[in-house]
């Protein structure tokens, strides 16, 4: 165990009784429960943590929060590895392993750092100006640029953890568990409103946990304890920790990521690693706090340059000394608290450097009283040192950039450029921030959604103001949601420290060869911003895109305002005139897996199963997905290939009898006095003259005249029809019918109800099908007289009621049997039993496909959304004598009426043997160079076992008149070229005699 040399002997909120072992870059260290990884690294004296994106400069720990731009590590190993993880937000756990990124071969000696040598050649946007030769040269240069860019290395195996999503509802959502958020939750919770408070960190309390003044101040500590106790007692208040509100979407939907198990080596059994909460809240209180801004000066990126508030957090929350000799550089009063805290634990504070001419605030006064040297009117010109700060150069602000200043030795430089309220969610909700001159910061503007900001997020930085503002916001939000009177409970009556105004200082002039960083993560310097402005990239979005300012994983949390201010300076305009860039969700990066939740693997989409699914499974079916359904494609027997099985099944249907599950076809009950009239308007052909007990093929068009769907629809009673649809369009057809009934023809008295789920359906097909049916069915005459082609009858099979439709897709005599679904398997097996002596064979989609191609029936490949009834050879069905039906009125348009349109034809190979492939293009002359005119295409192809040669369906320009012609089916992707003869699309039993055979 190492000694944690920088751990303070006392204090902090860590649990010293629980030491935790961890490794960084392979080296073992120890920390304590309650540490962040960053805190534990600092306690162990680790200062160099990573390398920067572009120049590979050494970087350390800059912050103590989600804004961290520098200390990004690869956390965990192998499949659980997480690149680009902010060390400041990782809760230490026993056995934690992390490694540094963007360096090779090691963090201390990184060859990539040679980029610094070329830095003069690599200003913002350098890549736009070079790498243009030769013509494909970029592909060469790019390889090196890509290898050098990027940050962490992704895990190479699937994520072993799972994620979940949940919907949540409350009356008031409070984002942030600091003093303002807790106060808001309290005020809202007391009204009885349902309150959800989400806090990004493991513990509630916010600044009250990190500010020495607050911690030692008994009233504040008591207030926190009492508030937490009361919140716990309110049954409708829920406090969610380790939960980041990262996105504010329309209609007050806030997305929250709860890190359930990231503080553990791995998630407990059955628990998700992370849960994405989709919180719908009528009212939202944003108590998201504020982020301290850095100052821009030369070398401000070196390890041990740290935000002043972060240093305070390490001292007070984690009992870690971030250095031994410190300089504080600040333009406002708040960082004097850091100086005092450093001094209190015995760290030498060489000086506080402050560009202001003085400050009458309480904190600077106390610092002076404590004997800390305050250099007013001064600035840090440069931080020196290599892999960490060793000294800073300080000069009077008036001489900066011209003369050398004093060198002050130090190993820690705390900086504060003021505070920026955390406005991300406010902006995402549609709010436009406003510039506040006194704070030199953007504050929330007018709300566009039902949200209000409180505390530091609203620009109120004093503790009592935060609490009072939170109470007020909570009470008002509750009232707006219908609870309470809107009157805030009284706020504590504590004295407020006086603070002097800050002095905006956007950058300290630096010598030209030194780099002053604005965006630490993306290595954007003050010089880059100047260059962008000179070249005319003066809109904030241009600046962002040209320099990549704010485009890193921290989304510019510490750089945006400084960057804008520098741009404003270059433009000679006020900051509000320059505007702000758009804050895009998420607030902090979110694991992609959490957006998917449980919808991975088998739950990516549900699988729909028919009532006979398990039978198919046990019969060894190979599956094919159709919509969400799984359907058997074929049933290979042992030792049989799928191709052989398909062929055997098709032959069995042609020669004997087969049984196929067709439950997935859409079935719609259409009933009411106007049902027939409705069908006449929905279908291109006529249904009103269909007798009861009969079925008819129906063709449905879109309003633009193109074929939409087809299926067989039966008249079960005078006012009742059963419509069937294709599997693929079942949902769309139902929606279409409902649209027509509810919006276009609401006067029609018709109810349409999907009954797809109610009925299992199977087709019994083949010359022996009637024999089988006769053996199985009771109470129905299955003779041709009793049940003619396209007849519909009720009967019973295996003791349960069935409906029998004599319809055929295969061209053979066939019966479709519908049965209430819970009895589907019963009837299926009864038919198989009854068919045993006839050699019945179950068959799948592939055999069905062969059979329908042989018969020239069109299916999905032909109904592709571009074909008309005439294209499909079904023009005779279109009943133009009807005054109206969907699709009627646009059929005569020139493009649809063009006789040269591709029409359905059959193709056979001229040699009678070469297989044809769907996707082949038909050309008249295969010898012309591209572009080769394509006059047709093959849509469906089969190796017909019945005919003994390959066949195909397809479309051909003016095809109906070209039967007998020889053309070419080209499949250049496979270098195939097959001479084909154009034939009638019905290859088998053109007279339709088999239907009755």
């Amino acid at each position: 165990m190492s000694a944690q040399p920088f751990r303070l002997p006392a204090g902090g909120r860590i649990d010293r009784s629980r030491p935790l072992a961890f490794r960084f870059d392979g080296k073992p260290y120890t920390g304590f429960a309650g540490d962040s990884l960053a805190a534990a690294l600092l306690a162990n004296g680790v200062r160099l943590v990573g390398r920067s994106f572009k120049y590979h400069r050494p970087r350390g720990i800059f912050s103590a929060g989600p804004e961290e731009p520098n200390a990004l590590v690869r956390l965990r190993r192998e499949a659980r590895a997480e690149p680009n993880t902010r060390a400041t937000m990782i809760e230490l756990f026993d056995g934690l392993e992390a490694e540094s990124q963007n360096r090779w071969p090691s963090l201390g000696f990184d060859l990539g750092a040679t980029a610094s040598l070329f830095a003069p050649l690599l200003p913002a946007g350098f890549y736009y100006k070079t790498f243009m030769a030769p013509r494909r040269g970029w592909m060469f240069y790019e390889r090196f640029i890509r290898a050098a860019a990027g940050m962490g290395r992704a895990a190479e195996a699937p994520d072993p953890d799972h994620y979940e999503k949940r919907h949540a509802h409350c009356d008031v959502l409070v984002v942030g568990g600091g003093p303002a958020g807790l106060a808001a939750a309290l005020a809202a919770g007391r009204t009885g409103a349902r309150v959800l408070l989400v806090e990004e960190r493991a513990e509630l309390g916010g600044a009250l946990r990190r500010e020495a003044a607050a911690i030692s101040d008994a009233p504040a500590a008591e207030w926190l304890a009492a508030t937490l106790a009361e919140l716990a007692s309110l049954s409708e208040v829920r406090l969610l920790r380790r939960a980041t509100a990262f996105g504010y979407y329309d209609h007050n939907l806030v997305a929250v990521l709860e890190r359930v198990a990231d503080h553990l080596p791995e998630p407990p059994p059955h628990r998700a690693r992370q849960v994405l909460w989709q919180v719908r809240a009528p009212q939202v209180v944003l108590a998201t706090g504020a982020i301290e801004r850095p100052l821009v000066f030369a070398g401000n990126d070196r390890p041990q340059v740290m935000l002043a508030s972060a240093a305070r957090a390490y001292l007070n929350e984690f009992a870690v000394a971030p250095g031994t000799r410190a300089v504080v550089f600040t333009n406002n009063d708040s960082a004097y608290a850091t100086a005092l805290d450093l001094r209190r634990v015995g760290i030498r504070v060489t000086a506080v450097v402050d560009p202001r001419e003085g400050s009458g605030g309480d904190l600077p006064r106390r610092a002076r009283e404590a004997g800390i040297e305050c250099r007013f009117g001064h600035a840090v010109l440069a931080a020196r040192g290599r892999s960490r700060v060793s000294a800073v150069e300080v000069a009077s602000l008036g001489t900066a950039g011209h003369e050398h200043g004093d060198n002050l030795d130090c190993d820690l430089l705390c900086v504060s450029g003021g505070w920026s309220p955390t406005l991300h969610l406010h902006c995402q909700s549609g709010g436009r921030p406003e510039w506040n001159e006194a704070l030199a910061a953007f504050v929330p503007g007018r709300s566009k959604q039902a949200e209000r900001s409180a505390g530091a997020a609203a620009g109120a930085f004093a503790l009592v103001d935060c609490i009072a503002g939170g109470l007020r916001a909570g009470a008002e939000a509750a009232q707006a949601a219908g609870f309470g009177t809107g009157v805030a409970p009284p706020a504590p009556d504590w004295p407020r420290e006086s603070a002097a105004p800050l002095r905006p200082l956007w950058s300290v002039p630096a010598r030209r060869w030194l780099k002053s960083f604005v965006d630490l993560q993306d290595d954007v310097t003050a010089g880059d911003i100047g260059l962008a402005a000179r070249e005319g990239f003066v809109s904030v979005e241009h600046l962002k895109r040209y320099t990549t300012l704010g485009m890193g994983t921290d989304q510019g949390k510490t750089s945006n305002v400084n960057g804008l201010a520098l741009l404003a300076e270059k433009r000679g305009e006020a900051i509000p005139a320059v505007g702000v860039t758009t804050f895009r969700p998420p607030y902090t990066p979110v694991a992609i897996g959490s957006f998917a939740g449980r919808e991975t693997g088998r739950h990516f989409e549900p699988i729909r199963r028919t009532a006979m699914h398990e039978w198919h499974e046990s019969a060894g079916a190979a599956w094919i997905e159709a919509g969400l359904w799984l359907r058997p494609s074929c049933y290979p027997r042992s030792g049989e290939s799928e191709r052989e099985a398909i062929r055997r099944e098709a032959v069995a249907v042609r020669q004997g009898v087969g049984l196929v599950d067709v439950s997935t076809l859409g079935k719609i009950d259409i009933a009411g006095p106007d049902a027939a009239a409705f069908l006449d308007r929905v279908y291109a052909n006529i249904f009103s003259n269909l007798p009861v007990g009969r079925a008819r093929y129906g063709l449905m068009l879109r309003e633009d005249g193109i074929v939409f769907d087809d299926g067989t629809t039966s008249r079960l009673a005078e006012q009742r029809f059963l419509m069937t649809t294709t599997t693929a369009n079942a949902v769309r057809v139902m929606q279409h019918l409902e649209f027509l009934l509810q919006t276009v023809w609401p006067e029609l008295r018709v109810a349409a109800t999907s009954v797809t789920e109610q009925w299992a359906a199977m087709a019994l097909a083949g010359p022996k099908s009637r024999d089988v049916l006769a053996r199985a069915a009771e109470g129905v005459d299955v003779s041709d007289a009793g049940l003619p082609h396209m007849g519909v009858r009720d009967g019973r099979i295996a003791g349960v009621p069935v409906r029998i439709f004599r319809i055929s897709f295969s061209g053979e005599r066939a019966y479709e049997i519908n049965v209430p679904a819970d009895w589907g398997l019963r009837v299926w097996t009864a038919l198989l039993d009854a068919g045993r002596e006839s050699g019945i064979v179950p068959y799948g989609m592939e055999a069905m496909g062969i059979l329908r191609i042989e018969k020239g029936h069109v299916a999905g490949a032909e109904l592709d959304g571009t074909t008309t009834a005439a294209d499909l050879g079904l023009g005779r069905l279109v009943a133009m004598k009807k005054p109206d039906f969907i699709g009627r009125h646009m059929l005569a348009r020139p493009a649809l009426a063009d006789p040269r349109r591709p029409r359905l034809v059959g193709f056979v190979p001229v040699d009678g043997a070469t297989r044809l492939r769907a996707g082949a293009q038909i050309v008249a002359d295969s010898r012309v160079p591209p572009p080769v005119p394509m006059i047709g295409r093959i849509t469906s192809a089969a190796d017909s076992p019945t005919l003994g040669h390959p066949i195909a369906l397809g479309f051909l320009e003016a095809g109906a008149s070209r039967h007998g012609e020889t053309l070419h089916a080209l499949f250049p992707l496979a270098d195939q070229w097959v001479p084909v003869r154009v034939v009638d699309p019905v290859f088998y039993d053109r007279a339709g005699e088999r239907l009755h055979g």
Binding site: H167, Y249, D250, H251, N252, L253, Q278, R280, G430, K448, E703, D704, Q735, E738, F739, Q742, T743, V744, P746, P883, D884, R888, H889, M890, A892, R893
Partner: protein, 94 residues
Amino acid sequence: MLLIPCPFCGPRDQIEFTYGGDATLTRPDPATASEEAWAAYVYLRDNPKGPHSEYWHHHAGCRAWIKVRRDTLTHEISASAAATAPLAGEAGKP
């Protein structure tokens, strides 16, 4: 994420609905409409930047087609009604 006020079920999450497009379109009278009128009905849209009357189908809910007035710039919803009823401030279909 939109919260769509179904006139039958109350406010419901967008994921329960399917979008149905411009609700101001009226299918032309089949007896009298010109080809141009049909082409306009099928193809042309006002596509306003601002309040937009549109159909939504509460497919996972009550299966009603409803009308919603939603601002296409802000996504704010100012009214909803059954498909055959007028939206607040709009004349009903004849």
